[in-house]
Symmetry: none
Subunit: 402 residues, 2 copies
Amino acid sequence: MVSLEILKKLTIKTPAKIVLVVMDGVGGLPHPETGKTELESAHTPNLDEIAKEGICGLMDPIAPGITPGSGPAHLALFGYDPIEYEIGRGVVEALGIGFDLQPTDVAARGNFATTDDKGIIVDRRAGRIETEKTQELCQMLQENIKLSEGEVFIRPGKMHRLVAIFRGENLSGELTDSDPQKEGKSPRPVTALSPEGRRTASLVNEFIEKARMLLKDRPRANILLLRGFAKHPQIPTMSDIYNLTPAAIATYPMYRGLAKLVGMEILSVGVSLKDEFEALKENYARFDFFYLHLKETDTAGEDGDFRRKVKVIEEFDCFLPIINELQPEVLIVTGDHSTPALLKAHSWHPLPFVLKSSWCIPDRITKFSERACRNGSLGRFSALSVMLLAMAHALKLGKYGA
Amino acid sequence: MVSLEILKKLTIKTPAKIVLVVMDGVGGLPHPETGKTELESAHTPNLDEIAKEGICGLMDPIAPGITPGSGPAHLALFGYDPIEYEIGRGVVEALGIGFDLQPTDVAARGNFATTDDKGIIVDRRAGRIETEKTQELCQMLQENIKLSEGEVFIRPGKMHRLVAIFRGENLSGELTDSDPQKEGKSPRPVTALSPEGRRTASLVNEFIEKARMLLKDRPRANILLLRGFAKHPQIPTMSDIYNLTPAAIATYPMYRGLAKLVGMEILSVGVSLKDEFEALKENYARFDFFYLHLKETDTAGEDGDFRRKVKVIEEFDCFLPIINELQPEVLIVTGDHSTPALLKAHSWHPLPFVLKSSWCIPDRITKFSERACRNGSLGRFSALSVMLLAMAHALKLGKYGA
């Protein structure tokens, strides 16, 4: 494994451009009726043409058999070992709602819950209250809670979910959860996992208690549970490592947050695929690396909607000529993880991958799909190789050793 | 690399069943006359059907080029890095004879040998004396030897082989061999490789001397040689790591011992393949993981009997419908290492591998063999991935990260 430290010394700044297209959750499983996966079912002349001209393979996001969350899957694609660079759940959630997290902030994911009169949790999700209700409650708590020191930001998520961000001096994320993650138990006091966390623990407990007093007379959302306390991890930026000027084009806050975490500039973009490709064209001169994210493949997979996932892939395929016109020195198309419609969830399956550049020996694979790409020259490989391959094929990596 | 600690946190207990079939030494080399390997020569309609429905690959037990012993090869299959979890030869032998080794015991493999009147070893195997004779001698030594402290257990193996197990307080396995492993040399005194081993070394030397006095007037077995001193390694069990309830079906003590080492329940089983498959059926409801071991492929390979190895593979193939009827969620068929009849020994060659489950994209490989499996979607991969793949395809692994 080539360390980031070694890599740093090999990078060369050039005008060559790299475009990394991530079709979220693109990998699938065969439909029981046709025996074809989502990609195999889709009509994708442009993707197939790229597969024919480029080098293909099957990529493992983390390791064979491991199903990744979006955080680790993206970190791996950007060249960061996701086992080494762990992102706490609270941070992922804060990024997901688009909160401008500072390096000293401690974030936790939370949810409203229901306790009985003895303080036992009877419903961890407060009857899955509506998002609007959660927004209202978060605002009420935000307006009424003042901590003895520092600040707390209470932001609503979907349904019963929320994010709490603590800001202050010398805060620590090494804390236990207040959420016992089971019904029939009492909420736990938050305790420090290291001496540095003691002050933060008492601050968090103070917050939880103040929230409890404000919520206690409500029938459903009468308590707030917190878990996954974490700080923004210290990560070297992509500019530091690769000597790149990277930009992210993504419509969902989570992916914008992940890109920001590794130092990408987040481009303003609308909500549609067309907007994303417009943003790529408009900003093409200003950067030498673009991460372009397509969310809808994953959403359709999570919904178990095979047909919609096929359609999203086909729609996406129509936009690819825009990239071809820009003629980037390196174009990569892959996913961050698989989300087979049959499983309605992220999965461990390896992903089809293609890299096109003037400096590769075309594999002449005729279809961009799970089964076709396995015959490509990259074989089965780790997502941690993606940035190395991108940099190399853009002629941005010098010789290792004499 | 995903550590066992991380893995532990991802496991989910479900009723889904995994069957891991290990055809010992199944990998081979092409016969000079036909150009076909043992597997390629065998008629195996059932194995071929599994290959068609599952995902295939070529598996390296340890690393390309490394020929494994049975111990490390099996540890890797069970998901334990064999470089990290080293099992001393003495322990493997003790497990092989079914001795109930305690964590503080030190075990060594031994053999009766013949020395001349100057004490030079003239036959390291004492003329390959019969097993019955070795049993008799071991009993005689056991009855007559009392050590100055602790205990020693002397257990016969096959022919001239034996196992010596030392039991006492603070014993160490860090000792040199008494067996010079060559004829024409004298036995060596056992010495400690670390200060902690000094007391154990003198205890072992006391034992060897007492045995010598009792054996010295015999014509053949007039001395006893010891090597491979080792303690039972501290290994987390498969239940600990994978949250499985695992069972082993194996007719040979060595494999039963290896399975016990990782915490499997060892099922009572007769001596034939039929008995093994009967045991699988009878115990199917009680466990969620089965390791089923076939020894005869390895034995035929070690004997250099190409034709018998082909026949054993074909016989085994006939039993596979029994597993199909049980419909395990995950079925894996592979070997622990190759034992090509042409080499009459274990070898480094990678092994054909197939995994069948409802959650895989079938590779449509039409033959279970070394050459056919290399076109599978798993490509060339490490045995350390096997348990991850098994757990994932049984839907027994949660998501890594958010």
